[in-house]
Symmetry: C2
Subunit: 351 residues, 2 copies
Amino acid sequence: MMTQTLDLAVIPGDGIGPEVTAEALKVLHRALEGTDVEVKETHYSLGAQHWLSTGETLPADVLDDIRGRDAILFGAIGAAPGDTRIPSGLIERELLLKLRFTLDHCVNLRPSRLYTGVGSPLAAPGKIDFVVVREGTEGPYVGNGGSMRTGTPHEIATEVSVNTAYGVERVVRDAFRRASLRARKKVTLVHKHNVLVHAGHLWKRTVEAVAAEFPEVQHDYLHVDAATIFLVTDPARFDVIVTDNLFGDILTDLAGAVTGGIGLAASGNINLDGTAPSMFEPVHGSAPDIAGQKKADPTAAILSAALLLDHVGQGEAAARIEGAVRADVESRTAGEQRSTTEIGDAIAAQV
Amino acid sequence: MMTQTLDLAVIPGDGIGPEVTAEALKVLHRALEGTDVEVKETHYSLGAQHWLSTGETLPADVLDDIRGRDAILFGAIGAAPGDTRIPSGLIERELLLKLRFTLDHCVNLRPSRLYTGVGSPLAAPGKIDFVVVREGTEGPYVGNGGSMRTGTPHEIATEVSVNTAYGVERVVRDAFRRASLRARKKVTLVHKHNVLVHAGHLWKRTVEAVAAEFPEVQHDYLHVDAATIFLVTDPARFDVIVTDNLFGDILTDLAGAVTGGIGLAASGNINLDGTAPSMFEPVHGSAPDIAGQKKADPTAAILSAALLLDHVGQGEAAARIEGAVRADVESRTAGEQRSTTEIGDAIAAQV
Ligand SMILES: CC(C)[C@H](C(=O)O)[C@@H](O)C(=O)O
Ligand SMILES: CC(C)[C@H](C(=O)O)[C@@H](O)C(=O)O
């Protein structure tokens, strides 16, 4: 049997990042046992700790090196909120967002599923199983803003949301394509086009145009404020949500919460045309408050590894991980206290 | 006894707007019985229906006339979502937002309270009683954007969020002032300053500066994505939330949902320096699907009338309305079907 190599970039990051990433790798290796895929891992020391000791966020040569890999497994980054040594948002922007933007991760894919037995804060959550296709390289995230007379009573600060037909269309088409492969085949565009007229109408027109290519897929529209209402009153109504970078950020944290917490929420930052590696990461952050205590739930990181395998064509291995996670999650009992490693071992054992 | 006149502008609007406004006025009149306040009402025909028959949104002379009143009671506006005769968002922008901006309604005040006996979609909502101080005249709502190469594959559409020290500071100070009058005395700033650096830092610096004037008020910070998580996992943690126009729009719809639906959510658009009348409106929309059927719950409109009375110095009358609403709401039984008028009558009877 010829072997193929999966050349992985691993960025464990800060806080609980390294702990959950170790479990994700353990499960990923297990899922590939008996296949012809050999995993090569290159670990990169990046994040808030790395910045504190070196002053580097993402040097050009490191970025180039990462760019040559097949896929990226990302843990979590960021220092403790009270740590004033690090300018707020610096690591997020110069490392995480820099990777998403430079590697053209236009689709930020965030599935939301309520597993049987997992407690939702909702009294009657219903059957939640949708995916958010969040745009990842445009919108209010472009860093296009500024301030003048900063710090004076006459300060003006702006933030410019930049949206292009090119950027919106590829994401909308990806959402329709994903919907066409799902049972319910329904896309919901979320925006605020009654106020954000220009960006909103670009999104709306693009959805209408792309919808014509997918006659089997239904579509509807919700303002972002109304969408948050439905996420708590009727989350089962959603199948595929397509939305901009900022609305997607907000909706997926809320979606993570209603499906039992962002300890279970996985994500993929997808480069659609294969010009650079895609990146897979839990939606949660580095949780400095519980770091080093083996208290973190590695499930979101493990599910992110499954998304990674699916993306590189190892759909069967991915499905084995998802099945193992489902079995593990469904067997959890309220109040149980397993360590990060114990959860990772249990899932690996069931793969 | 000398009588004072409360010179009210009433804009019933579309759909259920006129129905709920009629009940709000009924209750407002009842609450002022026996006081020295005489109410003068001037009703303005404005909204989607009015636009369809006249082509007018808010003519300058009508705006001038409204500007001379003491306060505005606003119902709801907007046509049916499927009505393609009205350009999407036109009435919202050229009437509702125009009023908010022109009359300098810088504080969009949105209290959220879970009444005993009201069903929340949350399994364990806890004691919810907070108020959102949403900025009302800046941010992404300024209509400062555009598109070029519109409708082509090369389209670029922008939306500019404009934030000023002047605009942010008055709202932040109002939030701290309100917090200082409340039991818990806590302000939470919600923004996304790790990504929206310039606007975010203006907000953050302003909160730090104003906090120094209110040593008795605590304050903390949440990114908007994290705030939505807390709104469903621990809404009781909030006392006063201060946030920008768009984040406030999103958070208050979600807050309305977790406190039992936006049928109960009231709001005030406050002109802080008294240069123009403030405007009070339910958070809900015109609900064209149930218009004319007397199915709408007028409670949000009635509570908006209470906010109005409080604002014009009739705190006692406002408290009587709030007490009557509380009594009525607490006596509601699941599945009961009272008409809009029956609910209004019941609340008026208890004032
Ligand atoms: C850390 C932050 C920049 C990031 C974002 O806003 O995208 C995070 O909230 C996320 O959702 O991945
Ligand atoms: C109708 C719309 C323009 C408005 C807003 O976005 O402010 C509404 O959603 C609200 O919250 O009052």
